[in-house]
């Protein structure tokens, strides 16, 4: 929200602090400030303050008056009751008889809560006065003409979007232009003010004149009844449209306007009436001629919202903020916030209010915010009595049952709620719906009343003889024959602040919202950092993270550097609906491809590249954490060098993590018979860390250090080039018996199509000292087996 400092100042008699200081106050207590920019006009200088109004305050603060109210709260300066404009005061409006009437019909009450219309005849459309143009220009708006500018000004002043139609361009039915607020028909096209075609569907709300569409409600005006320099007679609109509908329409047709932005954030319908007053005055100020006539206001407002009541206790403040704020401070803050409050004993308030409702009609479709206290159903009565006393309880009977604290009927006290199953064919509920969803009461519940004491119950009775709020003896009541339980909402001593919420503050509903108001105004900087007094338990270990960390450590130690690459790529199992680019349209299903690209990039700058990544890959059935490493070089590799390096890393992991990896002939990496990864002859290993983690590593246990000396023998075996080391080693082990303590390949070279493999074998016994001759015998057996295989011992 771009706010002009001068405009802001116009709401105050007293001088405001400098722009920077206003910005600082707002920053610390209300809103983030995006920027402050100096502005220069012929009339002097101004500052443009960009205030970041987030959705919670978009109801009441997307306007200069809204921000002024906030500045008033923070500075303690009084905000002027009436709009003050730089030139002469706003004119009074005298209603005259216009030639044309005005019919307004809301066909969609849910989507349009209120529509205020007014006809003004005989206006002169021209340029706006300087002060008005300057106001608009200061916040980046383009002045158009006095009528349109007045509408924009009032919106920026108080947050209510407005619109004006040229009455002579509207279809005349019965000598009076008619306005219908209805849904568009599928495929309707409206030409907008800026001459673009907007294609509409039957979900979109429009303003129509009985013949065609004049505007997309709350989003954009159409060209048909646009006000231009020849316009003489105008119809003014100040309406309230439902947020969800506006948002959907605006998104579907791709048009976002200052108006749609305000409506989709929801503004209170009370604004529409107030805004129309000022709109008309401004039109008269700037467009009046001696022929000007103003009609009566036509106000379609079916169900005005009731003042919302909420509340909190000092204990709530302490529980949420962790700061003990004394009552006089709280009360001073409530006063500064301009909230109407009263300190009440909750139960006294409930019990005082309850009996006054006797005789009010029972209404099965009662909505608290519109119908109370004129009519009730059973749970709207109890919910209303408590919310009027500053305690929010769930709206539904079943949820009230689970919300309250169980009380034995023997111990029932005034203020307790009594729940029953009436067995009268009503809607019996067994499970909680909104509060702690899914809790069960096996008896089922369909009725609730408030216990008044002395055996009396207050309830909104749907009984055919009553159909109203009544008081009767609990034991004689037809609807309470089968009592399921008694619940207590608050204790006798409970005291709290009962707060009436101003209509525009749609963000203040729950206790926490009020605590936030107190907290931010009190000043978060005053909250003292306090160690929590919770019991500390040793935190559980995240095994996968720990595992990934050890692998990272091993690989870094082994000379590999870590990279983080992008999760999106050009192929995979999951496709993005709105990718940044076609080559970023899929979620990767391996780390290999990205690593390959990173390798070739890095080879531009260095000879050898050893890199790895640990990251998520996205497979059809799940996300998995993978590790991949790559080894590559600009040099020409020596025979087997690359593979030998990769196997070396694999064996390092094997030794450190105590797994046994087997690389199969088709290059799969197996452990404990499970495939956990693969080796790629491009120089890459990729391993599924989650699969690996499911496998139990070998246990470490201490092997007694041999007390008897060991004997070492080497044997070199000449084999054809394509013989695998594994086969040769197996043959040695199969023929060397149980005294072998360890054996390994220590030398290898190729010559004339043959390969020489040198093995070292260590013999040791746990029981005795081995003799040379004993070991010689074993070695002879090995040699014989080698010869028998067709190989030779060198």
């Amino acid at each position: 929200m771009k706010v002009s400092y001068n405009w802001l100042q116009s709401y105050f008699k007293d001088k405001l602090p400098a722009p920077e200081n206003v910005a600082e106050l707002l920053t610390n207590h209300s809103f983030e400030i995006e920027s402050i920019e100096p502005l220069t006009f012929a009339s002097g200088s101004d500052s443009l303050i960009d205030v970041k109004v987030l959705p919670n305050r978009a109801h009441d603060c997307l306007s200069h008056l809204g921000v002024a109210r906030e500045v008033g709260i923070l500075t303690g300066l009084e905000v002027e009751a009436e709009l003050v404009i730089p030139t002469k005061p706003l004119p009074r409006v005298s209603v005259g008889k216009t030639v044309r009437g005005l019919n307004i019909e809301i066909e969609e009450n849910k989507l349009c809560k209120r529509y205020v219309g007014r006809m003004i005849e005989g206006v002169e459309v021209k340029e706006s006065p300087e002060w008005l143009k300057e106001r608009l220009i200061s916040v980046g708006q383009r002045p158009i003409n006095n009528i349109v500018d007045a509408a924009n000004f009032v919106m920026l002043h108080m947050g209510q979007p407005l619109h004006a139609f040229d009455a002579d361009k509207m279809h005349m039915g019965d000598k009076a232009p008619s306005i219908f607020i209805r849904r568009a028909e599928e495929g309707d096209i409206m030409k907008t003010l800026d001459n673009k075609d907007a294609k509409l569907s039957e979900e979109d709300l429009v303003i129509a004149d009985g013949e065609s569409i004049l505007a997309i409600a709350g989003v954009k005006g159409g060209i048909k009844a646009a006000v231009d320099e020849n316009t003489k007679n105008i119809v003014l609109e100040s309406a309230n449209f439902a947020p969800t509908g506006i948002r959907r329409t605006s998104q579907r047709i791709g048009i976002r306007t200052d108006a749609s932005h305000r409506f989709e954030n929801e503004i209170d319908a009370s604004l529409a009436g107030d805004a129309m007053e000022i709109f008309v005055k401004l039109v008269l100020l700037t467009a009046k001629t001696d022929r000007t006539k103003v009609s009566e206001i036509v106000d379609r407002y079916a169900r005005p919202r009731k003042v919302f009541v909420s509340g909190f206790s000092t204990r709530d403040i302490y529980k949420v903020l962790g700061e003990k704020i004394d009552e006089s401070t709280i009360e001073a803050l409530l006063n500064r916030l301009g909230l109407k409050w009263k300190k009440v004993n909750t139960l006294e308030h409930v019990l005082g209010l309850g009996p006054k409702q006797v005789g009010k009609p029972h209404n099965e479709t009662a909505q608290i915010s519109y119908d109370a206290p004129e009519s009730f159903d059973c749970s709207s009565l109890t919910a209303w009595l408590y919310s009027e006393s500053g305690v929010a309880i769930p709206r539904m009977t079943i949820d009230q049952y689970f919300f309250g604290t169980p009380v034995d009927i023997k111990d029932i006290l005034p203020g307790d709620l009594v729940f029953s199953n009436t067995h009268d064919g009503g809607d019996v509920k067994y499970y909680s719906v909104e509060w702690m969803k899914g809790l069960k009461v096996k008896e089922g519940i369909d009725h609730v009343g408030l216990y008044l004491g002395q055996g009396k119950i207050l309830h909104s009775s749907r009984h055919t003889n009553d159909k109203a709020v009544i008081v009767e003896k609990l034991k004689d009541s037809d609807l309470f024959k089968d009592i399921v339980g008694v619940r207590r909402i608050v204790d006798k001593e409970d005291e709290r602040y009962r707060v009436e919420i101003p209509l525009l503050r749609l963000d203040l509903r729950r206790m926490e919202d009020l605590v936030e108001e107190i907290g931010r105004l009190y000043g978060y900087e005053k909250i003292v950092a306090t160690p929590p007094t919770e019991v500390v338990k040793a935190s559980a270990t995240n095994k996968l993270k720990r595992f990934a960390n050890s692998i990272t450590d091993i690989l870094v130690g082994a000379g590999y550097s870590e990279v983080y690459l992008y999760s999106y790529t050009d192929k995979g199992h999951f496709e993005l609906a709105n990718p940044l680019a076609p080559e970023k349209a899929y979620m990767r299903d391996n780390l290999r491809d990205g690593l390959m690209r990173a390798v070739s990039e890095n080879l531009k700058y260095q000879d050898d590249v050893k890199i790895f990544e640990i990251g998520k890959v996205f497979l059809p059935d799940s996300e998995k954490l993978h590790m991949a490493l790559a080894f590559s070089s600009k040099r020409k590799f020596k025979q087997g060098e690359q593979l030998s390096e990769l196997k070396g890393v694999l064996e390092l992991l094997e030794r450190t993590l105590r797994y046994q990896f087997i690389v199969s002939e088709d290059l799969k990496i197996m452990t404990a018979g499970i495939e956990v990864g693969n080796l790629d002859l491009d120089g890459i290993i990729e391993i599924d860390l989650e699969a690996l983690l499911t496998i139990e590593p070998a246990r470490v246990s201490y092997n007694q250090i041999g007390r008897f000396p060991s004997i070492i023998r080497d044997i070199a075996i000449l084999v054809p080039e394509h013989t695998s080391v594994g086969d040769v080693q197996s043959l040695i082990l199969a023929n060397s018996g149980s005294l072998v303590q360890s054996s390994w390949l220590f030398d290898t070279f190729s010559k004339e199509g043959k390969k020489s493999l040198g093995f070292r074998i260590v013999f040791q016994s746990k029981e005795r000292t081995l003799s040379d001759s004993e070991v010689n015998l074993i070695m002879e057996k090995v040699s014989a087996a080698v010869t028998a295989k067709g190989w030779s011992v060198r």
Binding site: L54, N265, E323, V556, P579, L580, E601
Partner: protein
């Protein structure tokens, strides 16, 4: 000291023993995890492809609510399951997943990758890393959050750090605040890191919204909690003076090899 027979050249280089390098984000994530582990927080994680429910609805960001605009979202193409999927726009869904499967008291920290649908430049990336924290207990308040975060930042920056809370709004907390920490370099005096204001904007936070708790069947009258979310990439960039976020993800070893 030396003579011809036992000349020792201590200036001659040793045998070159290669080692690789940690990515700076790993270093920061480890510091964050260590600091929170020492405060009794468990490291948790969750999926990066999320459902609309966990990323938004369960966090009190209903469909068609303007608050949705606070997160530019990568959506996945419909897969016929009827469940709308997306790339998580924050690590906050892990709060919900964890609360669904664990009873309070709860202390978790979630370092992880998140995504926002936005054009990239030196300070904006569509892919980034966040650390989410959640603490739920019977005596947890905004004052305890201030304490825990001050302890955390002091440990992370190895310097006595103060935090400042400013009013803000995130649908899943109430009250909601922005957290600034005193500059780790100049301790609040003003320097190039903090752009001479002495404070660094570092995370969003607040008291867990009662609707969020109710949604996972935790009674908000008994249990209170705080939650916070900060940028890991941002911390790494500030700490190491990295001026372009894209360098973190292009795999260039000329960056990584400096760590």
């Amino acid at each position: 000291m030396s003579n011809a027979n036992n000349f020792i050249d201590t200036t001659a280089p040793g045998r070159k023993i290669d080692r690789g390098h940690y990515h700076p984000l790993t270093l920061v994530i480890r510091d964050i995890a260590d600091a929170f582990s020492s405060l009794g927080f468990e490291i948790a994680d969750g999926p990066e492809i999320e459902t609309e429910y966990y990323n938004f609805d369960a966090l009190n960001v209903p469909k068609d609510h303007p608050a949705r605009d606070m997160w530019d979202t990568f959506w996945l193409k419909e897969d016929g399951s009827g469940v709308k999927k997306l790339l998580r726009t924050h690590t906050s869904p892990v709060q919900i997943r964890y609360m669904e499967t664990h009873e309070p008291p709860i202390r978790i920290v979630v370092p992880g990758r998140s995504f926002r649908y936005e054009a990239t430049d030196a300070t904006h990336e569509a892919q980034f890393h966040q650390f989410e924290g959640l603490m739920i207990g019977e005596t947890v308040s905004l004052a305890s959050m201030k304490y825990i975060l001050q302890e955390f930042f002091s440990k992370l920056f190895q310097n006595e750090t103060k935090i400042r809370m400013r009013p803000s709004y995130f649908p899943f907390v109430e009250p909601g605040v922005e957290i600034d920490c005193s500059c780790f370099k100049c301790a609040g005096k003003g320097c190039n890191i903090c752009k001479n204001v002495g404070w660094i904007e570092i995370m969003g936070a607040g008291m867990v919204h009662p609707k969020v708790l109710e949604g996972v069947n935790i009674d908000p009258r008994k249990w209170k909690g705080f939650a916070f979310g900060g940028g890991i990439d941002r911390v790494a960039m500030l700490k190491y003076g990295i001026d372009d976020i894209r360098l973190l993800f292009n795999g260039d070893l000329r960056l990584v090899n400096q760590f």
